[in-house]
Each structure stands twice: as structure tokens, then as C-alpha cells.
Amino acid sequence: MSMASIKLTDVSVEFPVFNAASRSLKNRVLSVATGGAIDRRVDGHVIVRGLEDVSFSVKEGDRIGLVGHNGSGKTTLLRVLSGIYKPTGGSAMVDGECVSLINISLGIDPEATGRENIKLRAAMMGMRRDELREQFDDIAEFTGLGDFLDMPFRTYSSGMQLRLAFSTSTAIRPEILVMDEWLSTGDEDFKHKADKRLREIVNTTKILVLASHSRELLQKNCNRVLWMDHGRVRMDGPTDEVLPAYFG
């Protein structure tokens, strides 16, 4: 297997904000009809800069923590790393199979049974059919839901729903794992099992990127922390240096 790596060079991400005036075709046609000058004014939409000149590289074995206040660009950065946003400036090279555990309930259909939902969720994670066939029984067992797997998802308690989503989502072993907050789940019993499973994944992935507000969690899992502030990297260094600076 090749080495996994991430290299961001001067990455900027800018969101066009289409106000009502520029987003609709009607206005566009009308403004063209009334001449170029107005067109430009009507069309001069606002841009929100999500990331600005972000550069860093990650080598295999790195466990990166992401800290920053709300709106500092953490989620945007995670999306760049997951290959969802292509930078509008600079370049991002992500080498390795990357999976994000951001919303582990994505793809779940409340009316479908537990079993069907395992299949749906696995497909959403990008698991191939043969992989799923191999792992299905393990996943089903890990949920600990027993006969409830044949019941519609909506009949589950919220703890049970989380169990199912968690079990399926963590069945995958990517090279690069992107997480927005640690997934803490369920009752004490399951929590123990879940933490063990998460640690397993974290240990087997080549690169971990974990955004979190929890100092303890970052301290425990990361060897390097990026502090994001207003879309820029404010500080990038060993966990022991960045965390005290950020948390004060």
C-alpha cells in the first residue's frame, strides 16, 4: 500500500453568496436586457471566505487535532480534506482513501428496518457490496439490537438508533479518517464497546483528523494540533504547545 499523505498549499475557499437578486435566472435575463453596467452591479455578489492561504502537510502516522471557535473554518477544512470542496485558490493533495465520520446518521431511512438501514448506511460510506456481505453479521452483532433489527428504525429509542448508525459507520477502515467531534454513544455498556472500537479505528488509520472542542480528547488522541482562526491557521504545532495556548 502506498503512503498516505495530505499536502495543502495556500488553500483558499470562497463561497459565493447569491443574494436573491443574483441567484435567479429572471434577474439575470432582465439585467442583461437593461445593459452591461447594471448587470455587473446586480451581479456583484458577496463572497464569504471560508479558508485563506491555509498551508500544511500531514504525513503518515500523524494524528491531527483541529481547534477553533465556531465559524473559524474547521468544517470547511474538513470538507476540503474529504474532497467535497475543491479549493478556489491554491492546491490540495489528499493521497489515500479518505472517509469522514461527520454525520453518522446520513442516509438512514426511519421507515426502513434496521437491516435495510445497515445496507443503506454502508452504501453511503462507500462500502462495496462484497465488503458489506462479509461484514454484515459483525455489524449486526455489534449493534446488540437482536430481533429489533427487523423492526422499522423509527421504533428504536434514540440510543438504539445511535447504536445502529455507529456500528455501521465504524465498520470501515479508511487510510485517512476525518471526524467532527468524537462519537460518544449510548448507555454505559455500549459506550465502553464503542470507545474501544473507535480507538481501534484511530489506531489502524494512517492519518486521523479530529475536530473537537474537548481538550481531554485532543490530548489523548492527537500528536499535533491546528488552531484555526478566521479561516487561517493561527498555530500549528505539537499538542502540548497548542492546547495550552488555545484553551489558555
Binding site: D10, S12, E14, F15, P16, F18, R23, S24, L25, K26, R28, D43, G44, I47, R49, E52, D53, R79, S82, G83, I84, Y85, K86, P87, T88, G89, G90, S91, A92, M93, V94, D95, C98, S100, I102, N103, L106, G107, D109, E111, A112, E116, K119, L120, A123, M124, M125, G126, R128, R129, P152
Partner: protein, 287 residues
């Protein structure tokens, strides 16, 4: 749009490289996405079956409700228009049956194609998945519903006491070519509608007009003498519907129709690839 956007941005370095060792070159981004969507074909099939399965939950009849609606529509329109046009029922009823079924496939595929990306916003912003998968899903979903609706056809044939001919099987290549055409139309509209939300409404109205301009509810030969055949021959939707409909009515589609549809597919796909290649990476930003 894109150019304006880039020039407004800061800095002089506008080099936009990306991501995961992919091929670079002419249309590389479009081909990479569509290739991946075809490779991960099971995603589109899984989600589209799921879409249809949702209609079955807590409903005994499920997706067949659409078929029942369609059946009622065919019965009513068949009776009204058959009488208006003074067409013999045993000929007109099968005609309007197949027409409406295929047209509803075409129009709902195109309408839902407009929102293929918009309605998949949750997925697109959370996981990396080929965007073309969402277009395929939309087409498959409608194809499955078409599979439900087509069951009305044998019932209608029975009702008017006619037997199908072997020509029916020619509808299969016809359907494939129709689908290839729908896919590029949906891809283009999906991109445009993600950017310009009004386009969805525009398309809905446009499709309404196209439906009346195309022989769906009226038969081509009922056109008054004064009106040129160009109304038919220059209408791509006439050819698209013909290559699937004619075989069901015991005729073979004309060579003109086949050629038109194939040319339409080639030209359309070329345009769709160019557009998709250029704007694919902008779509998540527009959602």
C-alpha cells in the same frame, strides 16, 4: 459566472489544483466523476430502490398508486380525446396508454433531474461521492416507476381485444437510447438548476408546452393538412417518444427517428460533458 467569481477573489495565484491522484487533461474531471459513478453503480441502484421502497412503507399498494393514477388518467383521457378526435377506441386507447406512460417517464425524469443535485445536498456536502450518481439515481427511480406503469399496457390491450406483436422488443434499444438522452439532459439541468434555482420552474413550464407540441395526447396523423410535418420532424421529443412507443403499437420506428435520437445523444453528451467538466467542482459551493 465562474470567471467573475475568480477575478473578485484575492491574490494572484489562481492555480487550482486538486486532489486525489486523478488524470488531468481534456474533460478529465467529468470523465473521472462519471466513470466513478458507473463503477460504483450499486450506489445509484441502492438509493433508487430505496426511493421506491419508501412509497411502499405503510401503504399496501405502494408505488402502484402512481400506476392507478396513471390508469385512471389513461381511461379518462382515452375516452375524451378518442371521442373528440373520432378515433376508433381499439386503436386510440393503446396509443394514449403507451404515450402517457412514456411521456410521464420523460417529464418526471427531466423535472426531477433539475433537482438531482439540490435534493442530494445532504449527501453531497457530507461524503465524497460521484455527483453523477445522483443523476443516475433519479433516472433509475423513474425507470422503476415506468416498470410499474407499463403493466397497464397489457390490460388495455386485453380491454380492446388486441394482441401485441413481436415488434414490442424493439422498444428495448429504443428505451436505452431514450435513457442516454435523458441522462445528458438531466445532467445539464441538474448543474444549471443548482446554480439558478428558478430554472426548475422554467423547465416545468417548458415541459408542459412541449407536451402539447409533441404528439402525446394527439396522433401525428390527426395534424391538419395546413401544418407542416416540420413540427414533428424538428421536435426531438417526437423522435424520443417514437423510438419507444412505436414498437408497442406494432410499428417499427422510422430511420429518421433513430438517427435523430442518436445524433441528439451525441451532441447533447458533448455539451453536457463540457459543462459538467467545467462546473462539477462548483456544485457543492452552490448548494
Amino acid at each position: 459566472m465562474y470567471r467573475t467569481f475568480r477575478t473578485v477573489g484575492p491574490g494572484q495565484n489562481r492555480r487550482t489544483g486538486y486532489m486525489l491522484p486523478t488524470r488531468t487533461g481534456f474533460l478529465a474531471e467529468a470523465f473521472a466523476d462519471i466513470g466513478a459513478a458507473l463503477e460504483k453503480h450499486h450506489l445509484a441502484t441502492t438509493f433508487s430502490w430505496q426511493d421506491v421502497a419508501q412509497r411502499y412503507r405503510r401503504s399496501r399498494v405502494g408505488a402502484f398508486w402512481l400506476t392507478i393514477n396513471m390508469g385512471v388518467l389513461i381511461g379518462a383521457l382515452g375516452f375524451v380525446f378518442g371521442t373528440l378526435f373520432r378515433s376508433p377506441m381499439d386503436e386510440f386507447l393503446p396509443y394514449i396508454c403507451v404515450s402517457l406512460i412514456i411521456w410521464s417517464f420523460i417529464s418526471s425524469a427531466i423535472n426531477e433531474g433539475c433537482t438531482a443535485f439540490i435534493s442530494a445536498e445532504g449527501i453531497i456536502l457530507q461524503v465524497r461521492m460521484p455527483l453523477f450518481t445522483h443523476v443516475l439515481r433519479t433516472l433509475y427511480r423513474n425507470a422503476i416507476i415506468l416498470g410499474h406503469n407499463i403493466l397497464i399496457y397489457p390490460v388495455v390491450l386485453l380491454a380492446v381485444g388486441r394482441a401485441p406483436t413481436w415488434d414490442v422488443f424493439v422498444a428495448v434499444p429504443g428505451f436505452v437510447i431514450l435513457s442516454l438522452n435523458l441522462l445528458w439532459i438531466m445532467l445539464i439541468l441538474g448543474v444549471l438548476c443548482a446554480r439558478y434555482r428558478d430554472m426548475t420552474q422554467v423547465m416545468q413550464n417548458l415541459l408542459q408546452v412541449i407536451m402539447y407540441l409533441t404528439p402525446v395526447m394527439w396522433m401525428p396523423r390527426t395534424l391538419p393538412d395546413g401544418i407542416s410535418r416540420l413540427l414533428l420532424d424538428l421536435n426531438p421529443f417526437y423522435h424520443l417518444i417514437s423510438i419507444v412507443r412505436d414498437p408497442f403499437l406494432g410499428q417499427l420506428p422510422s430511420a429518421t427517428s433513430w438517427t435523430a435520437c442518436i445524433v441528439f445523444a451525441i451532441v447533447g453528451w458533448a455539451a453536457a460533458l463540457l459543462l459538467f467538466d467545467r462546473y462539477r467542482h462548483r456544485i457543492p459551493y452552490w448548494l
